[in-house]
Amino acid sequence: MSKQAVLTGIIVEETTVFTLGELSRACGKPAEWILALVEEGVIEPVGGDQSHWQFRGHCLRRVRIVQRLESDLGLNLAGAALALELLEEVEALRNRIAVLEQ
């Protein structure tokens, strides 16, 4: 059996940043769609004007969830953004309950 090379990746952390182009490539959507997400307040860029925008690592997860809600459940952007916020709240509450019920 041939020895397989071990792949080492990097953790996408709070300190990891994506440019607009990288984020749009990471989810296979046009940059305009990412801009609409920024407009909606789903993700917040840092770093001045649009050409220097950077997005923190956790944005990727939020963007992916909105993307799936849109394409799988037919939600519009505002609906998906609301669902995302509620889902995050539910997740935090579920975690608290799990800890308390232990």
Binding site: R25, K29, D72, L73, N95
Partner: protein
């Protein structure tokens, strides 16, 4: 989808919308939500199209009366998605494909040679053990992904990657593997693969960020008099000092014993007092002595 065979198209649509919302993997926390969501999507794919539905209905003699459409659930974590949502992966189970033929993607497979573009990024969910976050580990990860074969048809291919799980990884974090996505077109670079990390449920610990929570059973005298007891951590046993006068539900913190990182997490230990069984003459005598010597009413603040 729990529908009768004579359900109308509207009934089918409504049932599908309901199930999709209920079992969408981002929404539902049921362990088999992905499989159920996929099942409902497959069933809907069949039933929304009158032609396909007719084909399905012709299967009738092979099915018992009232039997529902159950595609074999061959779905689990470890499925790679490109771009789209859970339904956008373009892959259905073999059963589905046998029934209705493979989707033909041939039309999209002709790109001109001059066209350069980076390959698509892929995403997959991976389950690892909590211990891997403490020590780091190398794990073999099985991934299925839809690929176009040389006839331009979608097929599920399986491949295994050996991946380093870095020490200090948290639930929900992503690992980016450069160049493990789709090949680029022309001179374009390969896309990346993002692995979203989730922990297998652990028998002892519950994870919250980098902190762990656990219950530690203790004897009544250990909380009453104070004691130093052994407690497990993912890094091995440690001594935990229980202050005198602690009780069931008291919470103690083991600073810096959680998932390593900046800052390293803590372990929160909740004490749970266990009464020793009165299974011997001596034990019974001790309990009787306590009952007569201690004026103790655990229900005092209930007014009874």
């Amino acid at each position: 989808m729990g529908l009768k065979r004579d359900a109308s198209q509207d009934d089918i649509k409504r049932a599908h919308r309901k199930l999709a919302r209920k079992y969408h993997p981002d929404v539902s926390k049921e362990p088999d939500a992905e499989a159920k969501f996929k099942e409902a999507s497959e069933a809907y794919e069949v039933l929304k199209d009158p032609e396909k539905r007719a084909a399905y209905d012709r299967l009738g003699p092979n099915l018992k009366a009232g039997q529902e459409f159950h595609p074999p659930p061959n779905w689990d974590s470890g499925f790679e998605f490109r771009g789209g949502g859970f339904t956008g992966a373009g892959v259905f189970s073999d059963f589905f494909e046998e029934l209705f033929g493979r989707r033909d993607y041939g039309a999209h497979a002709t790109y001109s040679a001059q066209f350069n573009a980076p390959g698509q990024d892929h995403h997959a969910k991976v389950l690892v053990d909590l211990e891997d976050a403490f020590h780091g580990a190398t794990r073999s990860i099985n991934l299925q992904s839809p690929e176009l074969d040389k006839h331009g048809q979608m097929r599920v291919t399986h491949h295994t990657l050996k991946v380093k799980i870095p020490k200090g990884i948290k639930e929900g974090q992503q690992i980016r593997l450069k160049g493990q996505g789709s090949p680029g077109m022309g001179q374009g670079v390969k896309g990346d693969l993002y692995l979203e990390i989730h922990f297998n449920p652990h028998p002892i610990y519950r994870v919250e960020g980098r902190d762990l929570h656990m219950q530690l059973p203790v004897a009544p005298w250990e909380v009453a008099l104070g004691a130093t007891v052994k407690t497990p951590t993912p890094d091995g046993r440690v001594d935990l000092k229980i202050p005198a006068g602690a009780n069931s539900g008291s919470k103690l913190r083991l600073k810096g014993r959680g998932i390593p990182g900046k800052p390293t997490g803590d372990i929160y230990v909740t004490l749970s007092v266990v009464a020793p069984p009165a299974d011997s003459k001596q034990a019974k005598a001790l309990y009787k002595e306590m009952a007569s010597m201690l004026a103790f009413n655990p229900r005092a603040n209930m007014g009874v």
